[in-house]
């Protein structure tokens, strides 16, 4: 048997091991292998390499999973926590503004020599209404943020 012919069968053995051989060539290879001890040895060595690759067992740090999961939990909903805090702050500010008006409105009016109604208008304009707007707007931000993220991913 000439060397070129033999090499072509070795190539077919590699293709067969890699799963890159056609059914027709596989059949031809099987027939050849029945009568060719060197090719049988070549195939056997290939199979031993593949089996040998299964003989490794890498150690995994037992704390790795816990560390990964903790960091995933931290990052999973960072926005939700942030928006909740901002919404709570807006509620506190709104109630606080109303409380200042009711409890200290007269005091502030006399201190600045203005009418109580003017104090109330000032508090409404610069404190209570902006806080209310924040309260209504912030719950919508997670959805707006998510929509922005989706748009960004589509462009990746």
């Amino acid at each position: 048997m000439n060397i070129d012919h033999h090499e072509s069968f070795e190539r077919m053995i590699d293709e067969s091991l890699a799963g890159a051989i056609s059914a027709e060539r596989e059949q031809s290879l099987r027939e050849h292998l029945d009568t060719c001890p060197p090719c049988q040895e070549y195939l056997s060595a290939g199979n031993r390499v593949i089996a040998g690759l299964g003989g490794f067992s890498f150690e995994v740090d037992p704390t790795l999973n816990a560390r990964v999961l903790a960091s995933l939990r931290r990052r999973a909903h960072p926005d939700r926590r942030r928006w909740t805090l901002v919404s709570v702050a807006a509620v506190v500010l709104t109630i606080g503004g109303s409380f200042v008006d009711l409890q200290f409105g007269d005091l502030i009016a006399s201190a600045f020599d203005i009418q109580h109604m003017q104090v109330r208008q000032g508090l409404l304009t610069f404190w209570i209404v902006p806080s209310l707007c924040g309260l209504l707007l912030f719950p919508l931000l997670p959805w707006l943020s998510k929509a922005g993220t989706r748009r960004e991913e589509r462009t990746l």
Binding site: D14, L17, G52, L53, F56, F58, V60, S71, R75, A76
Partner: protein, 184 residues
């Protein structure tokens, strides 16, 4: 009824931590093994694993559930490695002069493959694996340990199927002499 891959895709779209936890439990060892084969070293692998899962969380909605999850996960991991190499100017996966090879030739420390060898044949293969270029090690683990098809490997490594097949042949050719002529 939804298939497993569609359930995974839905869970990733929603950033469902329970789904992610199950995936971490299921794929952690395989991810670690793949990264060790890719890098040829153990250090830094845990950080890359962690970054991989964080990217899965962040970009999970790009997995559509139409194909198997594993090749998508391994592609994410590979991209993380490539990004890390670019940032740290480490080495190229295609390079002969990679960090792992240089280290293997100059260091007395046992390679991760030597440390992980549990059979005689694996022990014989360990040194050759350490000096084999990463692109060849990579396809060997993906084909023969992960059992991915050539098409799936092609999608993971971003190379044509014919290139993947050639890398497998060359990887086998490099390792075969270590076991040839030995009685099993």
């Amino acid at each position: 009824m939804e298939s497993d891959t569609q359930q995974i895709a839905l869970g990733l779209r929603q950033g469902d931590v329970v789904v992610l936890e199950a995936l971490v439990e299921q794929y952690q060892y395989r991810l670690v093994r793949y990264l060790i084969y890719l890098l040829g070293r153990r250090e830094g692998v845990d950080d890359l694993v962690q970054e991989t899962w964080l990217r899965v969380l962040k970009r999970g909605s790009s997995y559509d559930g139409q194909s198997r999850f594993e090749p998508w996960l391994f592609r994410v991991a590979r991209n993380i490695v490539v990004d890390a190499m670019r940032k740290r100017r480490m080495f190229s996966l295609d390079s002969n002069d990679d960090y792992g090879v240089r280290r293997a030739l100059t260091s007395d420390e046992p390679s991760p493959f030597t440390l992980a060898a549990r059979t005689e044949d694996a022990d014989r293969l360990a040194r050759s694996l350490q000096t084999l270029e990463p692109v060849y090690r990579e396809v060997l683990v993906l084909r023969f340990q992960e059992d991915f098809s050539l098409q799936e490997i092609s999608a993971i490594v971003g190379a044509p199927v014919s290139t993947v097949a050639s890398r497998i042949y060359r990887g086998l050719a490099t390792l075969r002499p270590q076991l040839e002529g030995e009685t099993a």
